[in-house]
Symmetry: C2
Subunit: 578 residues, 2 copies
C-alpha cells in the first residue's frame, strides 16, 4: 500500500482548522491518537483487506468461522484501548469525544470496513447498555465489550420485517427475575445480523428487539409494544444460550463481516433480560441508531476517500495518451487529461465533502446535550449525513473504477472492492427512501426549528464568504439554491398528507447537495483563512468548492423540478403498466 488511507493534513484541517475541535479536545492529545489510529489501520486492518473478501465467513458444526486474519487485528485494536476510547473513565474508557472517535474510526473504515464493523457494532451495543441498562447489566455485558473481549450485535430485522419494525414477530415471555433484572424467554428469527456469530470473541452480546405478548398471547400491534433485550450467546455457566445460526448471507461486498440469520428459541426459548422498561425498545434503539447513521456516513466517506487517494496515485503513475492536439512525444500521466482531472475533482468533492459533513455532525453529537439548536440541527442533518455520504461516496468509488480503466475492473486493484463494500451503505440502517421520509416528515415539516438553525448557519457562512474574493461568486448561487429549497418546502407544506412523500427521495438529494455546497463554501473559507496559507492544500479546497458550485449545484434545480411541480407520475402509473 503506497497511497495513504486518508489525508492526515485534511483531517487535521477539518478538526482544528475548521471545526474548532480544540474547544472539545486538545490537539496535542488528539493528533497522536489519530496517528496511532492510522498506523494500526495500515498495519493491522489493511493487510487482510482482500484476503477477508475472498475468504468469506463459513458455517461449521461449531458455528461461524471468519477469516482468521481478523482476530489478531481486533485484538490489537482492543489492547490499544480503541473499543474503550469513547466511554467515560468510570467504565474504563478514555472519555474521548464522539468527534475524536469518528475521526479515528475513519482510518479503520478506510483500511478495512468489514473488520471495522465488529468494533463499531460492539461499541454501539455497549453504549446502549450503559445508557439504558441497570448497573448489573452494565457490569456483566457492557464492560467486557468496552474491553474488547466480547463483541456485540443489534438484532432488529426479521425475514418478513426489514424496514418495517412494526411487524416484528419475535416474542419475549416473562421468565422470572434475577440480579440482572426481569428475565424473559425469546423465540423468533432475526435476519441480517452483522457479527451474528463468529469465532473471534469470547462471547457475543445480542441486543434484540422483541414484543411481549398480552394476556391472550397476542403480540401488540405497531411499534409501541417493542422492548429491548440482552441475549448473550453464552450464559454465565458457560453453556450456550438457545440461539442458533440458521444461515449466512453471501454478500456482494463487506464480506469479512459475518451476516447471519439467527434463530432464537429453537428449544426452550433464549434467555434474555429486558433493558429499561417494557415498550421502550424502539426509542432506546433509535437513540443509538442516530449515531449509527452518522457512523454509516463516516464509513461511506472513508471508503470514498480511500478510493480518491488511490485514483490520484494511479492517475499520476499511469501514462497514456497525449494532450489534445499533440501527436508525438512520450505519453503523459493520465492526471494531465482534463477528463481525468474532472473525475478527480468530483471524487474529491464527494469524499472530502462527505467526511466534512459527517464530522460536522459528529461535533454536534458532542454538544447536543447542552445546546438545543445543535440538537435540532443534528436531527435534521442525520438522514443527510447518512444518505449523502452513502450515495455520493459510492459515486466516488464508481469514478475510481473508471479512472483505473480495465485495471479498475480487476480484483488486482482495491477500487472494485471499495465499491462493493460501500454498496451496502444506501441500504442498511434505513434505506435512502426511508431517510427521505424521515427528513421531510419528521425533520422538516413537523418542526421548523431545525430549518431555522440551518438557515442561520448558512447565512453566517455566506456573509463571511462574501468578503473573500475567490468565493464571493458562489454566495449568490448558494442563496438561490436555498430559495429554491424553501419554495419547495412551501409547496410541500400545502400538500395533503398522503401525497407529501411522493418525491421525498429527489428532495433529499437536492437538500443534501445544498447542505454540502454550504459546507464546501465554509471549508474553502476556513482553508483560505489559514495563516500561513498552506498552498496547495488551500487551493485544493478552493478548487473543489468551485467544482461543486459549477458542476454539482446545478443538479439541485433538476432534483427539485418534480418536487415543485408535484409530479404524480409514480402514483399515476397503473401497476400493470410496469
Amino acid at each position: 500500500m503506497t497511497a495513504s488511507l486518508l489525508s492526515s493534513e485534511d483531517l487535521e484541517f477539518l478538526l482544528y482548522g475548521w471545526l474548532n475541535a480544540g474547544d472539545l479536545v486538545d490537539e496535542e492529545i488528539l493528533m497522536p491518537f489519530l496517528e496511532l489510529s492510522e498506523k494500526l489501520a495500515e498495519k493491522a486492518f489493511h493487510p487482510h483487506y482482500k484476503l477477508s473478501d475472498r475468504d468469506e465467513p463459513s458455517l461449521t458444526s461449531n458455528g461461524v468461522r471468519v477469516c482468521p486474519a481478523i482476530a489478531p487485528a481486533l485484538r490489537q485494536y482492543a489492547e490499544l484501548g480503541f473499543f474503550a476510547a469513547s466511554f467515560p473513565e468510570e467504565f474504563g474508557g478514555l472519555g474521548l469525544t464522539y468527534l475524536a472517535c469518528s475521526a479515528s474510526f475513519a482510518y479503520f473504515a478506510a483500511a478495512n470496513v468489514a473488520t471495522a464493523a465488529y468494533p463499531m457494532l460492539t461499541v454501539a451495543n455497549a453504549r446502549l447498555i450503559t445508557a439504558f441498562g441497570n448497573a448489573e447489566q452494565i457490569e456483566r455485558f457492557a464492560l467486557p465489550q468496552i474491553s474488547g473481549e466480547w463483541f456485540g450485535t443489534m438484532c432488529l430485522s426479521e425475514p418478513q420485517a426489514g424496514s418495517s419494525l412494526a411487524d416484528l414477530n419475535t416474542r419475549a415471555v416473562p421468565d422470572g427475575n434475577d440480579a440482572l433484572g426481569d428475565r424473559y424467554r425469546l423465540t423468533g428469527n432475526k435476519m441480517w445480523i452483522s457479527g451474528g456469530d463468529q469465532d473471534i470473541s469470547e462471547n457475543i452480546v445480542h441486543l434484540v428487539l422483541a414484543k411481549v405478548p398480552d394476556g391472550t398471547g397476542q403480540l401488540p400491534d405497531g411499534t409501541q409494544g417493542i422492548s429491548l433485550f440482552i441475549v448473550p450467546k453464552l450464559l454465565d455457566d458457560g453453556t450456550r444460550n438457545d440461539v442458533s445460526v440458521a444461515g449466512l448471507n453471501h454478500k456482494m461486498g463487506y464480506r469479512g463481516t459475518a451476516n447471519c440469520l439467527l434463530n432464537f428459541g429453537e428449544r426452550d426459548g433464549a434467555v434474555g433480560w429486558i433493558v429499561g422498561a417494557p415498550g421502550q425498545g424502539l426509542r432506546q434503539m433509535f437513540k443509538m441508531m442516530n449515531e449509527a447513521r452518522i457512523g454509516v456516513g463516516i464509513g461511506a466517506a472513508a471508503l470514498a476517500y480511500r478510493s480518491y487517494r488511490l485514483s490520484v496515485q494511479y492517475a499520476k503513475e499511469r501514462s497514456q495518451g497525449r494532450p489534445v492536439g499533440v501527436r508525438t512525444g512520450p505519453p503523459v500521466p493520465i492526471v494531465e487529461h482534463v477528463d481525468v482531472r474532472r473525475m478527480l475533482l468530483a471524487q474529491k468533492s464527494y469524499a472530502e465533502g462527505a467526511l466534512a459533513l459527517c464530522l460536522y455532525c459528529a461535533r454536534l453529537v458532542d454538544v447536543e446535550a447542552d445546546d438545543e439548536d445543535a440538537a435540532a440541527l443534528l436531527s435534521l442533518l442525520t438522514p443527510v449525513a447518512k444518505t449523502w455520504s452513502a450515495e455520493f461516496g459510492l459515486a466516488a468509488n464508481d469514478i475510481a473504477i473508471q479512472i483505473h480503466g480495465g485495471y479498475g475492473y480487476t480484483r488486482d486493484f482495491d477500487v472494485e472492492q471499495l465499491w462493493r463494500d460501500n454498496r451496502l451503505n444506501p441500504i442498511h440502517e434505513g434505506t435512502t427512501g426511508i431517510q427521505g421520509i424521515d427528513l421531510l416528515g419528521r425533520k422538516i415539516l413537523r418542526d421548523k426549528r431545525a430549518l431555522a438553525v440551518l438557515a442561520e448557519r448558512l447565512r453566517y457562512t455566506a456573509e463571511h464568504a462574501e468578503m473573500v474574493p475567490e468565493l464571493a461568486g458562489h454566495v449568490a448561487v448558494l442563496r438561490d439554491s436555498w430559495a429554491r429549497v424553501e419554495t419547495c418546502i412551501g409547496v410541500l407544506s400545502a400538500t395533503e398528507a398522503t401525497r407529501v412523500f411522493d418525491n421525498a427521495t429527489p428532495f433529499l438529494r437536492a437538500f443534501g447537495h445544498l447542505v454540502v455546497a454550504w459546507l464546501w463554501l465554509d471549508q474553502a473559507r476556513a482553508a483560505l483563512a489559514l495563516s500561513p496559507k498552506p498552498a496547495p492544500f488551500a487551493e485544493g479546497k478552493m478548487m473543489a468548492c468551485r467544482y461543486f458550485f459549477e458542476f454539482e449545484v446545478p443538479r439541485i434545480a433538476a432534483w427539485l423540478a418534480p418536487v415543485q411541480s408535484r409530479s404524480d407520475v409514480a402514483t399515476s402509473i397503473p401497476t400493470a403498466a410496469f
Copy 2:
C-alpha cells in the same frame, strides 16, 4: 427463473410498432426467430449465469479452462444457426438484418452476457474478415467462425496502450507469402483479450493490430502505421502457433468470459497474415468497432432490462410496510410504495430507453449504405448509444439492488451480478471519456450534417407529438432542451481547440439525455397510435415518457451549466492540490 428476460411485447412494439422493421424483414419470419432466441437464452444461457460467475476461467498447463457449462450452450447456439444469422447466404448465413440480430442478441445478453460475448466477438471477427480479407482468408478463417466451430478475438490493447492505440508496440515482420496472402511474424503483448484462450472451440482466430517496422527496424509513430493480421491459435498442420497465455484477468464481473494477457512470439514469432493493405488496420477495425459499440449498448440495455423485470417481479411479491398514514392491517407489496414506483419508472425509462436507442441505431446500420443521412446520424448516435446505455443501464442495475434491499446485496439474487457484469460497459470499446471526445470532436464540430439530420428528426417527432393531448406538454420541453444544446454547441464552436474538450463528458451526458427524451416522446407517440390501443402497455410507455420529461430532462440543464460557462476548474487546479 420466473421473470422473463425481456418483454417480448415491448420488443415486438419497438420493431414493428415503432421502427417499421417490416420494411426490412417480415414479421412472420422475425418473430419466430426471436421466440427461438428467447427460448434458447432461457434454457441454455441463463441456467449457468451464476455458476459461470463462481467458476471463473483458470489457467491450466493446457491453456485456459472455462466453466464447462458454457460449451454446450454455445454448441446449441451454433447448431441453431445463430453464429451465421447475420451473414449473407454465400457465406452460409441466413442474411438477417443487423436490427434482427441485435434484437435476438438482446435475449442472450440478458440471460448471460459473459457467455454471449464469445459469439459476439466471433461474429464481429468473421464479419471483419469477410469485409476486408481475401477469398482464401474468408474460406479458411471466416467460415469456421460463421458455423460456430472456431471462435474469434480482437487483439487491440497492450499493457502500456489501452485507449492509446498510437502507442502499440506489437511488431509484424514480413515472412514471405502463401495462398493466404502476405505472411508475417508477430511479436508483442496483448492485454484485455476477451476469449483470448479457452477450451470450448476447436481453434481461435485472433485479429491482431500490429505495426510493420521500417528499414531501420523502427516502428512508425502514430496510428497510420497500424495493420491488421489474422493469427490463428492452431496452424494448418494442427501445431500451436507461437501465441501463449501470459495471464488471466480476474474481473469484478463478466467472469465467464476469459480475459487474457497474450504473448505473441515468445519463440520465432507468431505466424499471421495481413488483412487488406498495410496501414489500414485501424480503419478496418473501426468499421467493426462502430457496430461493436452498438453491440455494447445492446448488451448494457439487456442487462438493465433484465434487472428491471426482476425488480418489478420482486416489488409485486415482497410485502413490507403500509401506505402513508396507515398503521394497521396487513403489509402491502412494496410496489405500492411511491418511492419504489419512482425507482421502477426510472429503471423502465433507462432500460427501455436504452434498448430503443440501440435498436434505432441498429436499424440505421441496416440502411446506411444507401442513405447518407442515415449514415451521418448513425455516426453521431454511436457514441451516445454506447455510453448512454452503459451508464444509465448501470444506473438501472443499481436501482434493482436498492429495490431488492438487503436481499439485492446478496448473491442469492441476480441483481448484484447484473450490476457487476454491466460495470465493464462504460470502460471497454472506448471509455466514456473517449466517447465524449468522439461525439464532440468528430461527430459534431467537424461536420454539421449529422446534427441537421437529428434536428429534422426531432422536429418531425415534435410536430406529431404536439397533436397528441397526452404528449403535447412535453414538446415545448424538448424544444427548450434542444435550444440549450444548440447554444452550447455555439459556445464550443467558438472555443480554442485545446480547450474544447474540457467538459466533453458532461456534454455527452446532456446530449444523450436529449436524444433519449426525443426517442421516448417518439415511442409514446407510436404506442398511443397503436390500434386497438393495447393498454396498459401504451399507458406504460406514456408514463415512462412522462417520468423521463419530469425527472430526467431537467438534468440536461445541470450537465450543460459548466459547458456553457466554459468552466476551467479541471484545468486550473494544480496537480499537487489533488
